[in-house]
Symmetry: C2
Subunit: 489 residues, 2 copies
């Protein structure tokens, strides 16, 4: 006997039919777009269309009607637009997303008895068959539609049925013509019997972002290098002075690598030297010192006040600041003392540093996500993103997201966008294709690509065909960096 | 706020993490074969392989292990076979189905900490790094594996850990070599930490049929035409006499069109004449008279006893009888009086006959499946199939299945196969491709095809590519009739 666990829609053998509802006569399948069975959302920007295709078909030869249903997550009721048949049981319908956040869409279909009757009836008339009883069948269907319709529509349908019935006794030709009236046929169709309507078994999600999610031009700048005077370290204020220069080139995003305090105890020197001198300033990605962690600004770069002012000034130049989210710590980061359980300890009592053998990053402790206190860790990291969102930042470039759990990002991005739906997350993942696509599916707004390594015509054609002509285009927004601080092909 | 109805796997925003289990680090997707999200089963015959592919990948760079799990529906516990990586996160595993009925399969994957450690460790050794602490990390992992393993395996692993630890203090080179022992590495892998094992979220079904479901050669014979004497009507006994002739040509299925009593009151004459004379015998598909319905044999063809004898004799010739299931009635069928609600009545008090405008089949009443008493109808029709199964018939050619509800066939075929898993149902549907494929997906064992109309090389190449090179091959078994009694191209 089958357990039928894998078959939620199938009746279990030996189950009694008594008391069960009459199953649907319609199948709805091969819905597009639909990513991973609807477990992942598709993406759009406000004002764009969502065009939905599906195979919709009943048993037998009846004609059917179908509608595309959609609603914003904030709405309870569905909007409904009629779908059009494309032939071979394929249907299409379209709606436009207007507000940020999530929309849902699904499909409805039903047997259209009047349209089915009308199709068969026309063939019988053409074949010269006696049709007086058939005409009464059609009149009966119109009368049923009249009962379902409200007010004026109901009256129109009732009048129509009465007129056909009367004419059929005196002038069959005129009755036939009247039964075929386009306006009234449409009215009957709109009031078709929906009792046996089949609803598609899933609600599919669209995540709607703002326009910049789809296209933006990023300029990367290290604040410490923004000084106009050789020999003096740059500051956030120096960045402010460079805004007209960057905006003048047409960029609309100014991206700053991490601006937090840099670790001291195992700071690296020049050219990856594991020992630093007193003037070495270390890597901005070596985050955390006695001066603070991910919610602090390196005092050498300025104050939080300076930073908020930079955010505002950047907007005056029609640009936005993008910040770097790099969830990793130096040995001096406050987290290491406060939450030793968030790091991986070795048998000799040291913490495992970041490695990509044979490369070693002695100045960086990766966070151990598989720890007993993971819930508190996730909440703390979320608070980091929200902290910078509260300073006015709405774009985050996420460093190495593929070395943290998928579920963490899915949760974090949803949480942040629930408060700030206009937030953009760019995934800095150069890794295996499945992993890059998974990060986009779970919520990243934009994604780094292999563009830097696709340099011939053939390479580019292949890659852009994949990005634009397959279902990838529904959820993966490619960000085309020709180079980065550590990649120059 | 999202309702997240369409996102069963996503955490709802603002949900608290407290108390929830640590989410999986692994993704499993793009499983093949998997038909319509696993709502439809794939098909095999006993002794065949099921080869399963999937994308399986964790975040980060850890190595993983994966297994294909399968069980017959009658079994509680899973069998497990290791999967092999094919590159680019694609994995494959294979199992063989041996018994008739349903099998289920699913996938498991886990992070293999020892294999991950070993891979990184080898790179560090190669780079000439100091590895004594790293070696102790590996020893720790072996010790954990030893605790998970039973009896001898546990002892072997514990010994191994102790030996490496001891050697590492005296002879690091030998310790390194020992840590790389292939047999022990395999043993550690088999006892990897499965606590965080990720199970694929679905159990997929395989319907296993007997060999004849995959290939058979059908011979169609009208018993009334089986008489050796011109002018005398043939009988079931005459069919028996023809068995050596049919078997001699190499056929293994002898298919009989309906053998039930034929309606009398509106019997058709020759050449579709709506009026019959006293010697006209009518269409075998016009089922039902005062002499009985779908569970009776036309007395002119013989008795049930004759029929059972034919079934047995056919087996002696290494053939099987296939019967026709045509769920439709003449006006004289007992069902019309006993269950008037199973037919569609017209405003003039007559029953709607079968039509495919402009064609009319006055001698046939289609069954109205959308009636209030549908449960009783379904049970009665099931009892028809079971009746003939009890007479020894295990192959049914189903007439026009596409004009009856999909859910009806899905239910009926499961019910019959639960009692007689060796039963074969051939769908006689020449209709739209989606409908033909849907019937195969819901359970039909074999299907008529467009073969009769595919006559050029290009046609045949296209069609057989579709049937054999796409997912269609997993559930649709093409039956290649070059012609039928009413189709000759």
């Amino acid at each position: 006997m089958s357990k039928a666990k894998g078959k939620p829609n199938a009746m279990t053998p030996s189950s009694s039919l008594a008391g069960s509802a009459m199953p649907s006569r319609l199948a709805i399948d091969h819905v597009e777009p639909e990513i991973d069975e609807g477990l992942s959302a598709i993406k759009r920007v406000a004002g764009e269309e969502v065009r939905v295709f599906a195979n919709i078909y009943p048993d037998g030869h009846d004609l059917i009607g179908a509608a595309l249903c959609f609603r914003h997550a904030s709405e309870e009721d569905w909007h409904e637009v009629p779908m059009q048949p494309l032939g071979n049981d394929r249907w299409v319908g379209t709606f436009v997303v207007k507000s940020l956040g999530s929309y849902f869409y699904t499909l409805r279909a039903w047997v259209d008895r009047y349209a089915s009757w009308r199709g068969d009836f026309a063939k019988k008339v053409q074949a010269g068959r006696q049709v007086d009883v058939d005409l009464l069948v059609g009149v009966g269907l119109i009368e049923q539609a009249a009962k379902r319709a409200d007010g004026q529509a109901g009256e129109r349908l009732a009048d129509w049925a009465r007129d056909i019935r009367a004419l059929s006794k005196t002038n069959l030709a005129d009755a036939l013509k009247l039964a075929d009236d386009d306006f009234l046929v449409g009215l009957a169709s709109r009031h078709a019997d929906r009792r046996s309507t089949t609803m598609y078994r899933k609600e599919l999600e669209v995540i709607v972002d703002r326009r910049k999610a789809r296209f933006s031009a990023w300029y990367e700048m290290f604040p410490r290098s923004a000084s106009p005077e050789p020999g003096r370290r740059g500051t956030v204020k120096d960045v402010e002075a460079r805004l007209p220069y960057v905006a003048g080139m047409g960029f609309d995003v100014l991206y700053l690598p991490p601006i937090h305090p840099i670790g001291r105890s195992v700071r690296k020197g020049k050219n990856n030297n594991p020992h630093s001198g007193p003037d070495d300033i270390g890597s901005p990605w070596a985050i955390g010192s006695e001066e603070g962690g991910h919610k602090s600004i390196d005092p050498r770069l300025g104050t939080l006040e300076d930073f908020r002012r930079l955010v505002a000034k950047t907007q005056e130049h029609n640009m936005e600041i993008a910040l770097d989210i790099a969830f990793q710590c130096t040995p001096d980061h406050p987290y290491v003392k406060e939450h030793p359980e968030w790091f991986r300890w070795r048998p000799d009592g040291t913490v495992q540093c970041a490695e990509n053998p044979p490369k070693v990053y002695q100045d960086i402790f990766p966070i151990e996500f598989e720890n007993e206190n993971w819930q508190q860790l996730w909440e703390e990291l979320k608070s980091v993103v929200l902290f910078w969102a509260e300073q006015g930042v709405r774009i985050f470039r996420v460093d190495n997201p593929h070395t943290k759990p998928f579920a963490f990002w899915e949760w974090l991005i949803r949480e942040v966008k629930a408060q700030y739906p206009e937030t953009i997350f760019l995934a800095e993942a150069f890794t295996r294709p499945n992993v890059m696509y998974r990060l986009a599916k779970l919520g990243f707004t934009q994604s780094y690509t292999y563009f830097a390594w696709r340099n011939t015509k053939w390479d580019l054609t292949q890659y852009f065909t994949e990005l634009t002509q397959t279902e990838v285009r529904e959820y993966f927004r490619p960000s085309l960096w020709p180079n980065t601080p550590d990649i120059l092909t």
